[in-house]
Structures are given as structure tokens and as C-alpha cells.
Symmetry: C2
Subunit: 157 residues, 2 copies
DNA sequence: GATCCCCTGGTCAATCTGACCACCCGGACG
DNA sequence: CGTCCGGGTGGTCAGATTGACCAGGGGATC
């Protein structure tokens, strides 16, 4: 979808200060409130903005350990493995990929020791041939979207 | 932090229906509005809920291709590599990890062809010895937090 | 038994929302 | 050249929500 500079500024503004309402946003952006409302509606129906769900920190919840596991799947077991993995709460996301592994998943655990339990849970399923796990030490760039927004806004404009 | 069942239900409710306000949430949960307000305040100051930023879909922005790159870094170049990667908008997150690679990053691109440009951008920096990229085909489990919340709420309770 | 913390149920003024409206502008088009 | 149309502007409106209070009730703890 076309994201112009105003859309970009609006999203960035919302990302930086989620609490501000439509009215305040319109003041900051120097446009009429109706404009901001219309843009927001459009961005949401476009699917550019999926929603404003709470941003939960697993670490604060007691799951400070993050790891990525690359899984190799037995031919034809894909569907079952997905179902299995999606039933494990500690699996935060799962992707099927090209390359060495067949799937990549993000895990969290209460501790390094607890990670063993989680990995056992994940692997305790027929259909997974091999797994290799990388524990996250630092997170120099936390999941972000602002720079991409800004680039998209520039590109379109 | 301690997350009891009420906190859990509150977060899940907010995650499912971000639009509802404190008042409606209190009705749904069957507690007083002040209680919900107090819980929310606590969760936010605890850092359990980081905020309510817009949930932006890179695909809808024109970046439908996602990939994960495992990077191997030349000894002592870590800091510079991080700075370099954080300057690339298409790098959505970056982790330092144990295991085969030294870093893992999530990339997006406008197309498979464009991914080449992004990878060249990422690798166009002295200090990265080797990189292996896995393109995401499907995303059977999109980044989620609800199941973990529910488990954490039960564990504490 | 006394104390403390949390939740309850109520009120209040201030604010924001979502919905309208008439009007104006620039670009596209016949 | 004139017209149409989408988008932005500035304004109003009633209704809903927020954030701030308060006194009181329980339950848990010591």
C-alpha cells in the first residue's frame, strides 16, 4: 500500500508515543483532526497497522532466556510438527524456511536450565529429525519498525 | 514479576481486543474499573507491558519477504557490526547468539530480488566473515504471547 | 485482635472520540 | 476550458471514557 510522508510521520509518532490520541496527533503533525482519523482508518483497513495490542516483555514475565532453534523435519510431517509446536506456549513464533533447516522457531524459557525442558518439549515429537539451538545473549537491535516506515514513506513520496 | 490470573486475563483481553478501554475491560473481567486501572498501571511500571505501539505489518508496507541471516563475525568487530546493521532499515532485529554463528538477524525485503540488495547491504561491511541466509516461506505461528501469558498466570497462581 | 493491602462501588470535572457539516483546493479528464 | 472528484480544513455536537477522588468491606498476616 502507498505510504506517504504523512502516514509515515503518523505511524512513527504513534510508535514513539502510543498514548497520544487522535487530537494530540493532529496537533503534532500540523493537520486537521479529521485527516488523522481518516489516515488511521485507512492504515488499519489496509492492514498496515494490524492493531494496538499490548507489547509484552517475556523477560518481565519471568522468561528472560530467548533462543532460536533450527529444526529439520521428516518428510511429510510438516503439518503435525506445526500443530505440535503451536501447542507449546514457549514457542513464540515459527517459520518454515529455505536453507539448511526446514523450520526456525523462537523460544523463551525461565532459565538456561529451563530451556532444556522447553527444548525437550519441542523435540519430544516424532517428525523432528534434528535441531540446533542458538541461545540469545544480547539483543543489540530489538524488534523495530520505525526505520523501515521512514524508508517506505520516502520511497513512496 | 508476579502475574496472577486477573493480570493474565486482562492482558489476554487487551491482546485480543485492543480497542476496548479500561471501562469495558472492567465489565468483561467482572471487577471494578479502579482495579483494572491499578493493574494496568502496575503492569506498565513493572515493564511487563512495554506499551501499546501500533503493530505494523511489513508485508502491507511493501516488504513481503522475510529472511533470517546467521552471521559470523571477525573477532573484536562486534561493536562495529552492530552499528552497521542498526543503520540498515531492513534489519528488523539483531541478536548475538551462542552456537555456530555469532549473530542472527531478521531481514525484510520488497522481493526475492530485492533481498539480494539487502543482503549485500548487510554484508557490505568489513568484519562479517560469513553469512548464511534462510528465506521464510510460511509463518505457521506468528509472533504471539497469549499462550505464554496464560501459562505464566497459572504458574504464579 | 489489630493492621495492612487490595478491591469495591460510587461520584466528579475534563477530555477525547466518532460523527457530522459546508467549503476549498489541486489534479485528472472530456 | 470547464467540470468532477478525492482529500484536506475548520467547525460543531452529543456521548463515552478517563483519571482522580472517597469511604467501606474483606481477607491475609503477624
Amino acid at each position: 500500500m502507498a505510504i506517504d510522508r504523512l502516514d509515515g510521520r503518523l505511524i512513527v509518532l504513534l510508535a514513539r508515543e502510543p498514548r497520544i490520541g487522535v487530537l494530540e496527533a493532529s496537533r503534532r503533525l500540523g493537520v486537521a483532526r479529521g485527516t488523522v482519523q481518516a489516515r488511521l482508518d485507512r492504515l488499519q483497513s489496509n492492514g498496515v497497522i494490524r492493531g494496538f495490542g499490548p507489547d509484552v516483555d517475556p523477560a518481565a514475565l519471568g522468561y528472560p532466556v530467548t533462543a532460536f532453534a533450527t529444526l529439520e523435519i521428516k518428510q511429510g510431517q510438516g503439518v503435525d510438527v506445526r500443530a505440535h509446536l503451536s501447542s507449546v506456549p514457549e514457542v513464540l513464533e515459527l517459520h518454515t524456511t529455505t536453507g539448511h533447516g526446514d523450520m526456525l522457531c523462537r523460544l523463551v524459557a525461565r532459565s538456561n536450565a529451563d530451556l532444556q525442558r522447553v527444548i525437550d518439549l519441542v523435540l519430544g515429537f516424532d517428525g523432528i529429525v534434528r535441531a540446533s539451538t542458538a541461545i540469545v545473549m544480547e539483543n543489540p537491535v530489538p524488534l523495530r519498525i520505525i526505520p523501515l516506515i521512514e524508508q517506505a514513506a520516502e520511497d513512496t513520496a
